[in-house]
Amino acid sequence: MSTVVGEMDQHDDHHHHAPSGLTRWLFTTNHKDIGSMYLWFSFIMFLVGGSMAMVIRAELFQPGLQLVDPHFFNQMTTVHGLIMVFGAVMPAFTGLANWMIPMMIGAPDMALPRMNNWSFWILPFAFAILLASLFMEGGGPAFGWTFYAPLSTTYSSDSTALFVFSVHIMGISSIMGAINVIVTIMNMRAPGMTYMKMPLFVWSWFITAFLLIAVMPVLAGAVTMVLTDKYFGTSFFDAAGGGDPVMFQHIFWFFGHPEVYIMILPSFGIVSAIIPAFARKPLFGYASMVYATAAIAGLSFLVWAHHMFTTGMPVFAELFFMYCTMLISVPTGVKVFNWVATMWRGSITFETPMLFALAFVILFTIGGFSGLMLAITPVDFQYHDTYFVVAHFHYVLVSGAIFSIMAAAYYWLPKWTGHMYDEGLAKLHFWASLISVNVLFFPMHFAGLAGMPRRIPDYSLQFADINQIVSIGGFAFGLSQLIFLWVVIKCVKGGEKAPAKPWEGADGLEWTVPSPAPYHTFDTPPKGFDKPPEVK
C-alpha cells in the first residue's frame, strides 16, 4: 500500500492549491472540507437543540409554571425535535459519509462535488429561517416536530410558512446528499471492490441513501399540503372541505418511519466497523449484516401506522401493522447477536470508540425492547403519547444514533486531524455521558407507565420526583457534551502524532493513507482489494 501513498503525494503537486480563508470553505468541492463543515454544523445544531432541551427540562424541574409560558414551551419541544433530527443527527451522518465513503472505497472524491457544496451550503439558511421564526410575532412552530394537521394549518401562527420553507430546503439538501452517495458508491469503488466486499459503513449508507430518496419527497408533499391548506384554501386535511386530518398522519409517518431508520442504519455501519477493530476478530456474519440492513430498510415502509394506533383504524389494519412492526425485531436481533458473537473470544481493548460502540449496543437494544413493547397494539393504547415513548425514542436516538456518531468521531479523529485525541478526557466524556444519559432517559419509562403524557409544560404531583431526577440527568448530559467539544478542539490543535493506522485491529482503505489524510487521496485507485475490511 505504501506505493499508493507515494504516488498520491506526487499527484498532489498537480492540483491547484486550495484557496485560503473564507472562500476556501464557501467554494470548496473537496469531500473532506465539506465533511468537516457538515460535522461542525451538526455539532453546533446539537448544542442549539440541546439548549432548547435544557429550557424544557428546567421548566419541568418542578410542577407549576416557572420559566416559560405553555405556548413557548410548545415551540421549544417542536424546534428541539426538528433541529435534532434534521440539523444534528442527519447532517452528522452526511458529514461522516462525505469524509469516509470516498476514502473507504478508494475514490478521489464524491462523484458530484459541486452539488456536494450546494447540498451543504443551503443547510445553514434552512436553519437560520427556522430559528428566525421563533422571533416572529406569534412565535415559531408550536405543533410538535410531527406537525399534525389541523394544529399546524388552521390553528398555527403565521411563522408556519417559514417552517414549511425551511423543511423544503432541508429536504432538498438531504436528497442531493443521498444522490451523491449513491452515485459515488455505484461508480467509484476501487477495482476488486464488488458490492459484497464493501465496508459495512458504506453498505449501510448506500441503503440509507435510497430510503432518503424514497421518503424526503413525501415529506415535501406533506409540508406543501400544510402550506396550501393554511394559505391557499385547500382542504387536504380539513373534513369540512372533504379532507381528512388522519390522512396527514398517514403521509407524515410514511416519511417518518423510514426516517427513523435513516437515523440508525449508518450507526449500524459505524458499530460494525468499530467492534471487529477493537475485538481484533472478524465480524461474525458480514453477509447477514448486509441482508439484515436491507430487510430493516424494506420493512420500514410497512410499519408507519404503528405511530397511529389510537387514531381509530380498522382492527385488520391494526393487526397488520402490529405484526410487521414485531417482525422488524428479527433482523435487528440478527445485528445485535452478530456484534455479540464478534466480541466473543476476541481480544478486546476499551479505547473510547469501543466504549461508545459497546454502550450503543446495550442502550440501543434497551430502546429496541421498549420498541417491541410499543409494537403490541393493545398495550400501545396505554403507552402512546406518554413519556414511555419519549424514553423509547431517546434511547434509540441519543444513546443510539448520537453515541454511534461519538464513536465514529473518536475512531476517525486521528485520521482527520493527524493527532491522537486526549484519551483521558475522552474517557471522562464517555463515562459522564453514559451515566447522565441513563439518569436522563431511564426514569422517563416509569413516568410514562404511571401516566404522564408527553409534550406537557406542567404535570400532576405524583410525577414530581421522577421529573426532578430526569432534569438533573438532562443538565449533566448537556454539560458533558462540552467535554467533547474540548477534546475535539484540543485534538485539532495538536497532540500526539497519529500514525496512518492508530488502531491495532482496524482495517480498511482509510487506514492506508497517512494521518492526517492529505487534501487529495486515491487519485489513482488502490490495488489489491480482495475482501471487506470487517472480514480481515
Binding site: 410542577p63 407549576g64 409554571l65 416557572q66 405553555p70 410548545n74 410575532e137 406569534g138 412565535g139 408550536a142 399534525y148 389541523p150 394544529l151 388552521t154 390553528y155 401562527s157 373534513a239 381528512d244 386530518p245 481484533r280 476478530k281 461474525f284 456474519g285 458480514y286 447477514s288 387514531t311 381509530g312 382492527v315 391494526e318 414485531m326 417482525l327 428479527v330 436481533g333 440478527v334 455479540v340 464478534t342 466473543w344 473470544r345 481480544s347 478486546i348 481493548t349 476499551f350 459497546l358 437494544t365 425492547f369 417491541l372 393493545p378 398495550v379 393504547f381 402512546h384 403519547d385 416509569f446 404511571a450 401516566g451 403524557p453 409534550r455 409544560p457 404535570y459 400532576s460 404531583l461
Partner: protein, 373 residues
C-alpha cells in the same frame, strides 16, 4: 430460612403494591385493562430474559476476552446453523407474543351492544359530554385554580387532574364512547380503563368500557392540541347502576329546569355591577386562556380585546363572534356553552374592562334576540 423469606416478602408486598402505581402501568378497573396489564408484564419479562442472555454474553466477553488478560483472538466467523437459530427462535417468540395480543385487541375493538352511549367532544381545552339516551349534556373544564399553576397557592392533591363537572358512568354496564373534536385533534385517555382514543375533527371514533368498581378515575388529553394541552384533564366517576340512574334522572330534571329558568329571567335586566362580576368569572373561566387575564391576548396568535375596535364599537359583531365563534380560528362558538346570562355578562365585561370603558351593558334578552334572528 424459608419462613424468614416469606415474612420478608409479605412485609415488602404493601410497598410493592404502592410502588406499582407510581412506577408501572396501572392494572385498572376493567377486565380489559387487566388483560392489557398482563400483556404488558408478559412482554416486559420476555424482554428481560432476552436482555439478561444477550447482555450477559456481552459482559462475559468484555470481562473474560480482554487483550489485557493475554487473550489471543479467535478467528471464527460465519455459521449458517447459528444464524438460522437466531433468526428462527426470535420469530417463534414473536408468535408467542402475537397470539395473546391479537385476542386482546379484538376484544378491545368490539364496542357492540352497549348499554349507555356518550358522545365525547374535545375542544381547546375542555371536554364536552352528551348522553345519548338521556337529555343531559355538559362541558367539563379544569378546576385547578390559576394561582396554583402560577405557584402562588399551594398545589392540591389532584393538581391538574380535577374538573368542575366530571363524567359519570354506571359500573357493570357496557358504556360506549363516541369520540370527536370541534377543532384540533385531542385524545381522550383514562388509564384505568385502558381507553385512549383520538378525537378527530369531522370524524367519530368509537371505544368502550365496562367498569367493575365504583370510584373516581382520572386521565388527561394525550394528543398535543395547542397551548393548554397540559390543562385538559378527564375525570370519570363510576357509580353503582342504581345510583347512576338516580343521578342521571336528577341531571335531566335540573337541565330542563335551568332552561325554563333562563326563559323566565329574560325579562329581568341586570345592573352593571352584577354583569361585571359574573362577566369576570366567566371571562377567567373561558376566555382568559387565550385572550389573557389582562385582555391583551398573545400577539400574532390570540387577538387583544383591550382596545379592539369590535369591543369598543360594533356590538352586533361582538355578540356574533362570542355566540357563533369564528370559523378557521381557535375562536369557539360559546352560544351553546354558556347561558344567556353568562353570555350577556361576559360581553358586557369585555366592553368595560381594562379601559374599554364603553359604559354599555348587554342583557340576556339582547343575546336571546340576536340568537333568534
Amino acid at each position: 430460612m424459608s419462613i424468614k423469606l416469606i415474612t420478608a416478602l409479605t412485609a415488602m408486598s404493601p410497598i410493592a403494591v404502592q410502588a406499582q402505581s407510581q412506577f408501572n402501568l396501572t392494572q385498572g378497573v376493567t377486565d380489559i385493562s387487566q388483560r392489557v396489564y398482563d400483556l404488558h408484564m408478559t412482554i416486559f419479562y420476555i424482554c428481560c430474559v432476552i436482555g439478561v442472555i444477550v447482555f450477559g454474553a456481552m459482559f462475559w466477553s468484555m470481562i473474560r476476552h480482554r487483550k489485557s488478560k493475554g487473550r489471543k483472538p479467535a478467528t471464527f466467523h460465519e455459521s449458517v446453523k447459528v444464524e438460522i437459530a437466531w433468526t428462527v427462535v426470535p420469530f417463534l417468540i414473536l408468535i408467542g407474543m402475537a397470539i395473546p395480543a391479537t385476542s386482546t385487541l379484538i376484544a378491545m375493538e368490539d364496542s357492540s351492544e352497549a348499554d349507555v352511549t356518550i358522545l365525547v367532544t374535545g375542544s381547546q381545552w375542555k371536554w364536552h359530554y352528551k348522553y345519548f339516551e338521556n337529555d343531559v349534556e355538559f362541558f367539563s373544564l379544569l378546576a385547578t385554580q390559576r394561582q396554583q399553576i402560577e405557584n402562588k397557592l399551594e398545589k392540591g392533591e389532584n393538581y391538574l387532574l380535577e374538573v368542575d363537572r366530571p363524567l359519570v358512568i354506571p359500573t357493570d354496564r357496557k358504556v360506549r364512547f363516541l369520540i370527536t373534536s370541534d377543532d384540533v385533534i385531542h385524545s381522550w385517555w383514562v388509564p384505568d380503563f385502558a381507553v385512549k382514543k383520538d378525537a378527530n375533527p369531522g370524524f367519530i371514533n368509537e371505544s368502550w368500557t365496562q367498569v367493575n368498581e365504583p370510584g373516581i378515575y382520572r386521565g388527561q388529553c394525550a394528543e398535543l392540541c395547542g397551548k393548554d394541552h397540559g390543562f385538559m384533564p378527564v375525570v370519570v366517576i363510576a357509580k353503582e347502576p342504581a345510583e347512576y340512574d338516580a343521578w342521571i334522572a336528577e341531571q335531566e330534571a335540573a337541565q330542563r329546569q335551568a332552561k325554563e329558568e333562563e326563559q323566565r329571567l329574560l325579562a329581568m335586566s341586570m345592573d352593571m355591577d352584577e354583569l361585571m362580576d359574573l362577566g369576570e368569572q366567566v371571562y377567567l373561566g373561558n376566555c382568559a386562556a387565550c385572550h389573557q387575564g389582562n385582555g391583551e391576548g398573545v400577539p400574532g396568535v390570540f387577538p387583544a380585546l383591550k382596545g379592539s375596535p369590535m369591543a369598543l364599537n360594533d356590538m352586533e359583531a361582538h355578540i356574533d363572534i362570542v355566540v357563533n365563534g369564528k370559523s378557521g380560528t381557535s375562536m369557539q362558538a360559546f352560544g351553546n356553552q354558556l347561558s344567556l346570562r353568562e353570555l350577556a355578562a361576559v360581553i358586557t365585561y369585555e366592553r368595560n374592562a381594562w379601559g374599554n370603558d364603553t359604559g354599555e351593558t348587554v342583557q340576556a334578552s339582547d343575546v336571546n334576540e340576536f340568537m333568534n334572528q
